[in-house]
């Protein structure tokens, strides 16, 4: 049994948080710094200025819907968000997040009692979101995706593989 003490804060959002809210198009030219500063401002103007490294975004259904822009996941990672826990994710966002090393978890348990600012922590081994009052079950990620996240995302993951392989073209993902 892993003992993890909740010590980060939950930032709680509703359903259908889209990629334009996560990475607004008009700041695309300003680089990830600028995008991150405006991340989610359409739904919570204080998010970017108040989120601390390790804090966890908790959301409803269909998180990350919209465009394929991976800056949506990158902005969250840039702000130091520790993980995103949602009832469901838009597929492209889900893939992008893992590729960029941002842990994303589908909540199979009920997250509706969580309030903004609640202390939370992810227990990866136990596939749960720990709160001060209990555990909320998460869908476990396949081992190779956890590996990729642990490596820091797809690029460092491939770097490791290519470095270990004499014939890079033969390397599987």
């Amino acid at each position: 049994m892993t003992m993890v003490v909740p010590r980060h804060r939950a930032f709680v959002f509703g359903n259908d948080i889209d990629t334009d809210a996560l990475a607004p198009g008009q700041y695309m030219g300003g680089g990830i710094e600028a995008l991150a500063a405006h991340c989610l401002e359409a739904v919570d103007p204080d998010f970017a200025s108040s989120v601390q490294p390790g804090d966890i975004v908790v959301a409803g259904k269909n998180f990350g819907m919209g465009s394929s822009r991976e800056q949506a996941a990158q902005a969250l990672r840039h702000l130091g968000v520790g993980a995103v826990v949602a009832r469901s994710f838009a597929g492209i966002f889900y893939r992008n997040a893992i590729n960029l090393g941002l842990p994303v978890f589908i909540a199979t348990g009920d997250t509706s009692m969580l309030r903004p600012g609640d202390a939370v922590e992810i227990d990866i081994d136990g596939a749960a979101l720990l709160t001060q009052t209990g555990r909320i079950a998460l869908e476990p990620l396949p081992y190779f995706l956890l590996d990729m996240i642990a490596d820091g995302g797809l690029v460092p993951h491939l770097e490791k593989r290519f470095a270990a392989s004499a014939s890079p073209k033969e390397t599987a993902l």
Partner: protein, 421 residues
């Protein structure tokens, strides 16, 4: 085991005789499509870091469409970088020819049974040709360009059957908005959609492309339409070679979809999606009088030849309502040329339309025509998220080219069936 079309394509691409829903497999990619925004400028630094080149330059197609026409210094620089990369790598490159989702099919690149990735969320468009095609981000694309492979979780299949014939002034866009309205934007939880039924078989390829494209709005990974004679005739006309036997790329008759939804084209009326989600779709006659400032006929789902023709059918011999701006950005140069040859572009311009470059334009949030504060727009594009096409205070309604053109005439959102022929 009976197999869905998605399973058949993924099985072939992953070198297996069959796959089960939920299997995670590594698949070989037959073609990778990239564009100027998420393409060279994003993938090249990663390829450099990995110290590798392209897995196969003949399996990469590059299109410039997001920053076209490069009317800012930044846009011009991105286009220049894109052109240099294309020349250096020797990949097929369509520069300013139109939107990637329209250009690839019209050049015969997408064929039944192919497993294709695109660096854009509307990549399911390839499903109209019986290809398993889906959108991925730039980092994942760099991985594909380096290795030729990608992991995929075999999706469940949602079968959406349409019966009956579309009435006058109804289009694929109305069908799709009706599906968004009923099923919601997460109606597809990254499943594969299979569009089927007589209504779908009765659609031309560009209309089918709109259905497949907006599978993204239904939350699906792919939006497949099994190939038929319409598909094969289009491919032959558009220079596709080595055509497969369409019989190989049909779902098994006894394959049971994980979900089945039925829609009736006979009872369908023109649909409009209210701000700020395609899922806010309702029959056009349910809207209170809604004045508009801008009408936009553009994007991969709304300004193909078929769409331009539909708009012209409404606008012929008429002029815009006072104070309304009609912007038309034809989806591809070829479609614009054909429309010009047939007098369609002249009809649009005579009515008062301003014609913009063959590119994504304001649908993708780029270009100089972005919507100002408090502007209300009705648009043929695929999505109407808050602030996507301009100021956060702007409002975007979605409708078919018929509905958008009719609304441009009236100055408010109207049923295109009220405009006489």
């Amino acid at each position: 085991m009976p197999q869905s079309l998605a399973q058949k394509i993924i099985a072939r691409a992953s070198g297996r005789s069959h796959v089960e829903v939920g299997d995670v497999v590594t698949a070989r990619v037959d073609l990778a499509m990239i564009h100027d925004s998420g393409g060279p400028r994003r993938v090249e630094p990663i390829l450099k870091r990995l110290g590798v080149g392209l897995y196969d330059k003949d399996k990469v197609v590059l299109v410039s469409d997001h920053y076209v026409p490069g009317d800012t210094e930044e846009g011009a620089a991105i286009l220049q970088l894109t052109r240099r990369w294309a020349a250096e790598k020797g990949v097929t490159f369509y520069d300013g020819e139109g939107i990637c989702h329209v250009v690839l099919p019209e050049r015969g690149h997408l064929k039944p049974g192919m497993f294709v990735v695109g660096g854009d969320s509307h990549s399911p468009t390839g499903g109209a040709f019986g290809a398993y095609m889906f959108g991925i981000g730039a980092t994942e694309m760099a991985g594909v360009l380096a290795t030729g492979e990608i992991w995929i979780k075999v999706p469940e299949t949602i079968r959406i059957e349409w019966s009956g014939t579309l009435g006058p002034r109804l289009m694929a866009k109305d069908m799709l908005l009706a599906m968004c309205g009923r099923l919601g934007m997460d109606g597809g939880r990254y499943q594969a959609i299979e569009y089927a039924g007589e209504t779908v078989r009765g659609l031309g390829m560009q209309e089918r492309m709109t259905l497949s494209n907006m599978a993204a709005e239904l939350g699906a990974q792919a939006g497949l339409i099994a190939p038929d004679q319409t598909t094969m005739a289009w491919l032959a006309e558009h220079g596709a070679t080595d055509l497969p036997d369409p019989a190989h790329w049909q779902p098994d008759l006894d394959a049971v979809p994980d979900e089945l939804h039925r829609f009736d084209a006979e009872t369908l009326v023109p649909q409009v999606a209210a701000p700020h989600s395609p899922a806010n779709s309702a029959p056009v006659d349910e809207y209170e009088p809604t004045d508009i400032d801008v009408a936009y006929i553009g994007a991969c789902t709304g300004a193909k030849y078929t769409d331009l023709k539909a708009a012209a059918d409404i606008l012929r011999g008429r002029t815009l309502a006072k104070g309304v701006e009609l912007l038309v950005a034809p989806s591809s140069k070829r479609d614009q040329d054909r429309a010009a040859d047939e007098g369609i572009m002249k009809v649009l311009e005579d009515a008062g339309a301003k014609v913009l470059p063959n590119a994504c334009g304001i649908c993708a949030g780029y270009g100089s025509a972005r919507l100002g504060e408090d502007v209300t727009c009705i648009s043929t594009t695929a999505r109407n998220f808050r602030g996507r096409m301009g100021a956060k205070s702007s409002k975007v309604y979605l409708g078919s080219p018929y509905t958008v053109a009719a609304s441009a005439l009236a100055g408010r959102i109207v049923d295109p069936r009220e405009v006489g022929a």
